[in-house]
């Protein structure tokens, strides 16, 4: 099978998954969830008011029409307007994406560099005390709640030491730095534990392969083996792992954005949850699912392109 037909087939399979995601969201918000008009109008609303609002929000439409609306929005990105701010949702998302990515992209690249370096280092010294201690520290870092990192980081570095802004956001390059630096550092710390552990396992898997033994018997230095042979081969797994993270970069980080008052997508989602703003939550769920699906396809295709051993079938 050629690569093109593989990609096409893979893309074709995306359709039933998107329909499924829409169905899941439809079931959650249009069928099972409690009537949103009650929380919007308060408990003293009259029956007529409730009915009127339901009509205005399109909740009295037949269920299949409501489902079809979600499917349509998944393909047209026309999510309608927010119930609470009355803004066009697609515009809100476009505006929110930039602050989100200002934080997630630098964090993503830095944490990638740091984690790969540390894991190469510990794979080189595998089995020693240094290796074991690093793995232990990683697991210990992972055992602390992410909320604690945010709380303590904000309190100690921003509030006590005054090194960064406590919260808020400003557009433009140098102005934005004091606001996003601490969130970026926290995201890196949160990621280092699991990433180093994963990369280390991947590298150790490679170190015991035959080609490494061959390289060693040719008389190559251990350093050359690590950087040239092991890293290159480990990159296949590392890239697939990393690409699947990209949807989350666009989505931003819910907790970090809300704590640091960054007007990104995570913050928008959280606000929508707190105000029962269904269209916004649905839009974010649909969008994030589509991003995940698309990057899944990209990973599969990359896998085939990068590693000639992977067979297409």
């Amino acid at each position: 099978m050629s690569l093109t037909s593989y990609v096409l087939r893979r893309l074709f399979y995306v359709i039933p998954v998107i329909l499924g995601v829409c169905f899941l969201i439809f079931m959650i918000f249009n069928v099972v969830s409690p009537d949103p008009t009650i929380s919007m109008l308060g408990k003293h609303a009259t029956k007529a008011q409730v009915l009127e609002l339901r009509e205005a929000l399109g909740l009295n439409e037949p269920l299949y029409v409501q489902y079809f609306d979600i499917v349509k929005s998944a393909f047209t990105f026309d999510f309608g307007r927010s119930w609470s701010t009355k803004q066009e949702i697609f515009e809100m998302i476009k505006q929110g994406a930039i602050p989100s990515m200002t934080i997630t992209f630098p964090a993503f690249f830095l944490s990638f560099l740091i984690s790969v370096s540390i894991s190469l280092f510990v794979a080189f010294y595998r089995g020693t005390f240094l290796d074991k201690a690093t793995v232990f520290v990683c697991v210990a870092l992972m055992s602390i709640s992410s909320l604690v990192y945010i709380l303590v980081g904000q309190w100690f570095f921003a509030f006590k030491l005054g090194l960064f802004e406590i919260s808020g956001y400003e557009e433009g390059f140098p102005e934005v730095v004091p606001y996003v630096l601490l969130p970026i550092i926290i995201i890196i710390i949160l990621g280092v534990g699991p990433d180093v552990r994963f990369y280390r396992t991947v590298m150790l898997d490679e170190i015991y392969q035959d080609y490494v033994r061959t390289a060693r018997s040719k008389g190559l230095s251990e350093r050359k083996i690590m950087f040239k042979h092991v890293l290159k081969n480990a990159m296949v797994s590392i890239i697939t792992y990393v690409v699947l993270r990209i949807p989350f970069l666009i989505l931003g980080s819910l907790l970090i954005e809300s704590f640091f008052g960054i007007p990104g997508l995570g913050g928008i989602t959280l606000k929508a949850v707190n105000s029962s703003d269904f269209p916004v939550i649905k839009a974010m769920a649909v969008l994030s699912a589509i991003a995940t699906i698309v990057f899944n396809v990209i990973t599969d295709v990359l896998y085939v392109v990068v590693d000639p051993r992977v067979k297409l079938n």
Binding site: I28, A140, S145, L147, V148, L151, L204, V273, A285
Partner: protein, 288 residues
């Protein structure tokens, strides 16, 4: 039977030997055991049943009298931390069991039957895992409403996907093996083959997964509490950490410290236990 067992040890026996020969693993197991006992004692009301009593001034710092200090209502942070073990362990246990029930049932059906059944279940799996966990978590908690039930259901209904994938893969590998063919030959039905023959052979994956799911659930409870979707009325480490949002600025660090430490110890123990279980039960990884 007894003579047989002496001749060759089973996988489980080997695994147990390797687990208890490692000091770190033994410590981790003891910690889990201690937390379980504390949670049981607290559930039955034998200890800290008076956690909600006012014992001193609001926000009294840690001292010899108040071990971990007091909270805003003058309640003992120590008692609250202990009481919260109950929520943490029950969240870990219930979501772990839910995850295993859903993941194992669907995974074994998909892997064993293949064909249309597999296609439909894999589609369902892909659909659920396409929606980022946090969005699904929020959505489900949102429907169920605040409280412990929301925590159980949202975590249990979203976490089964990883186990499903593993179990399905193992069933595909196992279903045509000789021992399953032998079971077919002596007239074993599908149900018997799935649960009596194949499942015990892949059960180590369930145990490893359960251990990791347990600690994931304890950590997630904190996030749900922050989102206002967590446990109400009784202390949990999540609500305690969440309370610290306002307390830290006033320099009241003890509630945060106590909850974080209590949580870190048990999560770390489960992480270590999960890794040790994997090393002991998955022979493919031996010698690494």
């Amino acid at each position: 039977m007894a003579a047989n067992e002496q001749e060759s040890k089973s996988l489980w026996h080997h695994a147990w030997d390797s687990l208890i020969s490692d000091r770190t693993t033994v410590i981790a197991m003891s910690i889990v055991l201690i937390y379980s006992v504390v949670a049981l004692l607290s559930t039955t009301g034998l200890i800290v049943s008076d956690w909600s009593k006012e014992v001193g001034p609001s926000y009294a710092p840690p001292s010899s009298e108040f071990l971990f200090g007091l909270d805003i209502f003058g309640r003992s942070v120590f008692a609250k931390t202990i009481k919260a073990t109950e929520i943490a362990m029950s969240v870990g246990l219930v979501t772990g069991v839910l995850t295993v029930l859903i993941g194992v049932t669907l995974g074994s059906l998909a892997g064993y039957y293949g064909g249309k059944v597999d296609e439909v279940l894999v589609w369902f799996y892909t659909t659920v895992s396409s929606v980022p966990g946090i969005m699904l978590l929020i959505s489900i908690a949102f429907i169920v409403g605040k409280g412990i039930l929301a925590v159980y259901l949202s975590l249990g209904l979203t976490s089964w996907t990883g186990l499903f994938r593993l179990i399905r893969g193992e069933f595909i590998r196992h279903k045509d093996r000789e021992y399953v063919q032998a079971a077919t030959a002596i007239g074993g039905g599908d149900f018997r083959k799935i649960f009596k023959h194949i499942l015990p052979n892949v059960f180590h994956i369930v145990i490893i997964n359960f251990s990791l799911q347990f600690q994931f659930a304890i950590k997630s409870e904190v996030i749900l509490s922050y989102l206002g979707l967590g446990v109400q009325g009784v202390p949990s480490w999540g609500t305690m950490i969440n309370d610290a949002k306002l307390e830290l600025a006033r320099g009241n660090w003890w509630q945060l410290a106590a909850a974080t430490a209590a949580m870190m110890v048990v999560v770390l123990a489960f992480n270590i236990l999960g890794d040790s279980l994997r090393d002991a039960l998955d022979p493919k990884l031996k010698g690494k």
